[in-house]
Amino acid sequence: MRLDTVRQIETPEGVVLELRVAGPWTRGLALAIDQVVRSMVLSVAAGPLAFLGEAGMGMLLLLAFLMEWLYPVVFELRFGGATPGKTAMGLAVVMADGTPVTPAASLLRNLLRFADLLPMGFLLGLLTMSFDRSFRRLGDLAAGTVVVHRERLRPVGALPEARPLAVPAALLPEEQRAIIAFATRTSTWSPERAQELASTVPTLAGSPPGEAVRRLHGMARWLQGDRG
């Protein structure tokens, strides 16, 4: 059983797309940013409205209402499923099938945030999230939505330069993928770490420094069809 947070969805075009669902911590930070934005908007508006006396106070209450209930809905529907806090954290709300969040779903999940807040400090929401494999709070369950990380992954590098080297044995597809993944990610590690990882391959253990890494790079190129 896979324990990661990647959810696979099959699209009508017959391909599997991957959604990486976001956990409570990232979402909590996004919520905190949104709270800051809300209170800043209210305090900025409070200044000029104070000059309007009671009418200004009425408008401020109206704004407080909009900030509490409609701010997330408007942003989720207008700006690719993300409030400013979610944008800052690289998150977005999508439907369970990976399509953009619908108006009804956005309204529901944001109305039901109050239920997730009960009895205090988002307790019910956290509880629901911790029992759900997609970290959905009550509002998400009712609306059929999930909060996901946007695609912007760390860019993966191209294969490093190396002399192609025939793979000495028939490898399973996962093994081939592991070698290619190793090669593309080598630049993100220290040479010592790369050597250490490379020498976990039994046939490469004990080879001179740098040699195991070079040979894996060569095999990766070979697997990619590079015959030199």
Partner: protein
């Protein structure tokens, strides 16, 4: 096919799709870039999906797979985005969906009415018969505040309120009342049938207030004040409670579905009812702030308009959207 050859063959196509998506999204890219052609999107998305599958199957580098996945995901989000025409949505809601959704939950809405107006009437009668019983429901300070508010000789009944104060009260009614309606609904997902029982609590409170004011001879000012916006406000409170109970019922009695699925289905049924309650509470805020509180409108006119509004609200909920075929 080798990966670099695969990239060479399809490179231009991917760049074109990226440009189309940029153009359709209309945010990125330099100004003056031609807008994307929406008609090209479905075919392009099918092709990129097939290429992504191929790239995965052939074990091409993660970098390439990731690049294709990103394009396919963007195309997916673009093609399957919902269209929202706000004015049309609002027309559909008011003319068809709200009344139909209310009638579909007819039993819960009826239960809500009984739990709200039943205790309200009972407490009203009891306190009319025994005025001292008001102490069981309201504390003395509340009673004093009420008497000051509805005293016909009170200052604010003698002169017309400033427009400024009307706006203040309007903002307050929206912020407070619509918020209460939404929270009542939402609490159903946490408290099951809780929302309909809040109605009983509200009924007792409102019954006690009305009864006490009648006992001290201020019933006239109260009735003239509430008759107008009460049509929207009291009905909306009952509807919020019923919608919340619908959510709770989904969790308590999921029927053939998992509880999660039952909650989702209940939420979709309840949503138009809450939207209706929200719209009615906004209408109530307008009436309450700018009409009910006016001291220049004679009471008989307030009663006549109030009666018309009550009729209108129930005619809408009972008869609205009956001829629509869905």
């Amino acid at each position: 096919m080798r990966e670099d050859r695969f990239v060479q063959v399809h490179q231009a196509e991917w760049a074109a799709l990226a440009a189309t998506l940029d153009g359709l999204d209309g945010q990125k890219g330099p100004a003056g870039r031609p807008p994307g052609d929406p008609a090209a999107l479905p075919a392009a998305l099918r092709r990129i999906s097939q290429q992504l599958s191929l790239a995965r199957h052939r074990g091409y580098t993660p970098a390439l797979v990731q690049r294709l996945h990103e394009l396919a995901m963007r195309g997916h989000l673009r093609l399957y985005r919902p269209r929202l025409d706000l004015a049309q949505r609002l027309r559909d809601l008011v003319s068809v969906e709200i009344p139909q959704a209310v009638r579909r939950e007819g039993w819960l809405v009826l239960l809500g009415h009984l739990l709200f107006y039943g205790p309200l009437l009972a407490v009203f009668v009891v306190i009319r018969l025994d005025p001292s019983a008001v102490g069981l429901v309201l504390d003395p300070l509340t009673v004093l505040t009420l008497e000051a508010m509805y005293d016909p000789a009170g200052e604010h009944f003698l002169r017309e309120r400033e427009v400024d104060s009307d706006l203040l009260m309007f903002g307050f009614y929206i912020w407070n009342n619509v918020g209460i309606g939404f929270r009542t609904f939402a609490s159903g997902a946490a408290l099951g049938l809780g929302p309909v029982f809040f109605l009983a609590y509200n009924g007792v409170h409102i019954g006690a207030v009305a009864s006490h004011l009648h006992n001290v001879g201020m019933g006239g000012t109260l009735s003239a004040f509430v008759v107008g916006h009460g049509s929207f406000e009291l009905t909306a409170i009952v509807l919020s409670g019923a919608a919340g109970a619908r959510l709770g019922l989904g969790l308590l009695a999921p029927g053939p579905y998992s509880r999660g699925e039952a909650l989702r289905r209940s939420a979709l049924r309840a949503l138009p009812i809450v939207q209706g309650a929200g719209l009615m509470l906004v209408a109530a805020a307008v009436v309450e702030a700018f009409w009910s509180s006016s001291s220049t409108v004679p009471d008989p006119l307030k009663y006549a308009v109030g009666a018309a509004l009550w009729l209108l609200v129930y005619a809408w909920l009972l008869l609205g959207g009956r001829r629509a075929h869905r």
